[in-house]
């Protein structure tokens, strides 16, 4: 069982295990055509001087709005620690039945998908909630040891996507509990080793949600004031660290792999393997997909580096923020329906998180309503997200190029970047065809 099928397992006795219909071929063609057109048009019509960086600070919101930040921060911090406690207790001591236990849905749907969406739309909510930082509060901020950058975050996210997409029984509450305990211990060990400030960027989820938050129009400045900024402007102040590329490749590759597991080709390849044999095949597929995404991007930035006579590693780093909109687009395309359908189950199970027969919110008898969004709407969201994400990526990369290079080189340098983005987009759409 893989991917959303894995989540099918999550809801073994519930009402889950639904994945999206294949994208209609005509929609794929429109999407791919739009992407090619937009890419070529971008080279002609986009600005010649960088615009995003100067727009990045944005404007401070009026002071009455600033007053909500403190109570909101306290509320979110409390919510974070409460959510972790509930999920932890449910996973370990709740019913050992994926459909009756809130932990799997809370972790895979509400937390992983939901917070990606919230981060990209509303900003870095997780940094305010993060229960690990609350627990680690008494620790010193830094230690003498060298900071590992985003490498630890990449490894931690890999452990999560492996559990979700490759491991054969991701939906078991006890499995989720075991992984969660190991993850929290690793994060706290990291906070002891490198200091608690490491939790801001070195822990997997803080890193990935923080990265996506650069897409949001809302952000907080050094003084903690809320500011609004134009879309994409925030991508100019992404902190590039050692391992940021690995973090992006792991996340992008995992969503791509999830798409692959829904195809007929993969079902045939997996054949009748179950248990650890299926896990082994999935693990190879997941790592292979991450490597493929990395290779395509690094090949493109290497060509850019050769054209510009720059260092290939520097070029690979500098264009990374342009992959962030594509990363979010993939998440939306693959998990939008999961969020709207299975998200309802979280609401149901919140009434009885520990399987004690409670009905706290009067929702325990609710059933998932599969008609809240139609299959047509889902298909449009999927194709729309990938096309918009592509255009946003092209714009971001273009802005960076005109910032770095002379006009002629800036334009030429974007051909390889366009090439790899068209590849990601058409590939992403192609996987949605389910063939």
């Amino acid at each position: 069982m893989t991917g959303l099928v894995g989540l099918g397992g999550v809801l073994a006795h519930g009402v889950g295990g639904r994945t999206d219909l294949p994208l209609p071929l005509w929609l794929f063609s429109y999407g791919a055509g739009a992407v090619l057109l937009a890419s070529f048009a971008a080279l002609r019509v986009l600005w010649r001087r960088p615009r995003l960086r100067e727009a990045a600070p944005g404007a401070a919101l009026p002071s009455p709005v600033q007053l909500v930040t403190l109570p909101l921060a306290i509320l979110l911090r409390g919510l974070g620690i409460l959510a972790l406690a509930v999920v932890f207790v449910a996973a370990w001591w709740g019913p050992d039945d994926a459909g009756a236990n809130i932990a799997p849905i809370a972790v895979y749907v509400v937390f992983w998908v939901g917070l990606q969406v919230v981060s990209a739309l509303a900003g870095d909510v997780w940094s305010a909630m993060n229960p690990l930082r609350t627990i680690a509060a008494p620790l010193p901020r830094t230690t003498a040891r060298a900071d590992p950058g985003h490498w630890t975050a990449a490894a931690m996210v890999l452990s999560f996507v492996w559990l979700e997409l490759a491991y054969h029984d991701p939906s078991s509450p006890r499995v989720v509990g075991t992984w969660l305990a190991a993850y929290c211990l690793a994060a706290l060990a990291g906070a002891v080793w490198w200091g608690r400030d490491w939790l801001r960027h070195g822990e997997g989820f803080a890193a990935i949600f923080g990265l996506l938050a650069h897409l949001a129009p809302l952000h907080r400045d050094a003084e903690g004031r809320l500011r609004v900024r134009p879309p994409l402007a925030g991508l100019t102040d992404v902190e590039l660290r050692p391992g940021t590329a690995a973090l992006v490749f792991v996340t992008l590759g995992s969503t791509t792999f999830d798409g692959l597991t829904r195809t007929e080709t993969w079902i045939r390849l997996l054949g009748d393997r179950t248990g650890w044999a299926a896990t082994a095949v999935n693990t190879v597929g997941l790592l292979w997909m991450i490597a493929l995404v990395a290779a395509a991007y690094l090949a493109a930035t290497r060509v850019v580096a050769r054209m510009a006579g720059r260092d290939p590693v520097e070029m690979a780093m500098t264009f990374l923020p342009s992959l962030v909109p594509i990363l979010f687009a993939y998440t939306l395309a693959h998990y939008f329906s999961l969020l709207v359908f299975e998200g309802q189950n979280a609401y149901v199970l919140a009434s009885d998180p520990f399987g004690r027969g409670w009905d706290l919110f009067g929702t325990i008898d609710w059933r998932v309503n599969f008609t809240v969004v139609s299959t047509d709407t889902i298909a449009y969201v999927q194709a729309g997200a990938i096309v918009v994400g592509h255009v946003a990526g092209v714009i971001t990369a273009h802005d960076r190029a005109v910032e770095l290079f002379r006009p002629r080189l800036a334009e030429r340098s974007q051909y390889p970047m366009l090439g790899v983005m068209v590849l990601f987009t058409v590939g992403g759409l192609g996987l949605l065809l389910g063939g």
Partner: protein, 153 residues
């Protein structure tokens, strides 16, 4: 702005892309047309050859649709014979899934949330109206063995 050789090349490539996209789109348009034609002929309310009384009293030609959407799966030695596969079923029609297994297990149709016992010599048979669109996993519950993916559209 004066067009350069480079921009002309880009434009030409752009034109090729549009033409290709257009060609693909027209191809698909024809498919859609054909599909809706077929749908119109089988719909008893439109087809004049079907007696209106039959259409209104019998639940839409049950015997034929059951025969058309009968899906059989066999499990031997804990494995699906021929591996898991994808089966397409039109939305709103009746489906029967028959599972034969050499183990005692439970068959689960996800999304529809249907369960049926299966045992050696006692096949599980699940009949239901496929009224939720999407792709749904059908599996052996205890061992998480995927039997098939049901595509309802």
């Amino acid at each position: 702005m004066r067009p350069t050789a480079r921009s002309r090349a880009a434009l030409r490539a752009g034109t090729v892309a549009v033409t290709m996209a257009a060609a693909l789109l027209t191809g698909c348009g024809d498919d859609d047309g054909a599909a809706s034609d077929t749908a119109a002929t089988v719909d008893p309310t439109v087809d004049p050859t079907v007696e209106p009384t039959v259409a209104s009293t019998t639940p839409l030609a049950t015997t034929t649709s059951v025969a058309a959407h009968r899906i059989e799966v066999e499990v031997a030695g804990g494995r699906v014979v021929g591996g898991s596969r994808r089966e397409a079923v039109p939305l709103g029609e009746e489906v029967t899934i028959v599972v034969r297994a050499d183990v005692a297990e439970e068959v689960h149709v996800h999304g529809y949330d249907l369960l049926a016992e299966v045992a050696p010599g006692v096949p599980a048979e699940l009949t239901f109206v496929a009224d939720i669109p999407g792709v749904f996993e059908v599996e052996l519950e205890a061992s998480h063995t995927e039997l098939l993916r049901l595509e309802v559209a």
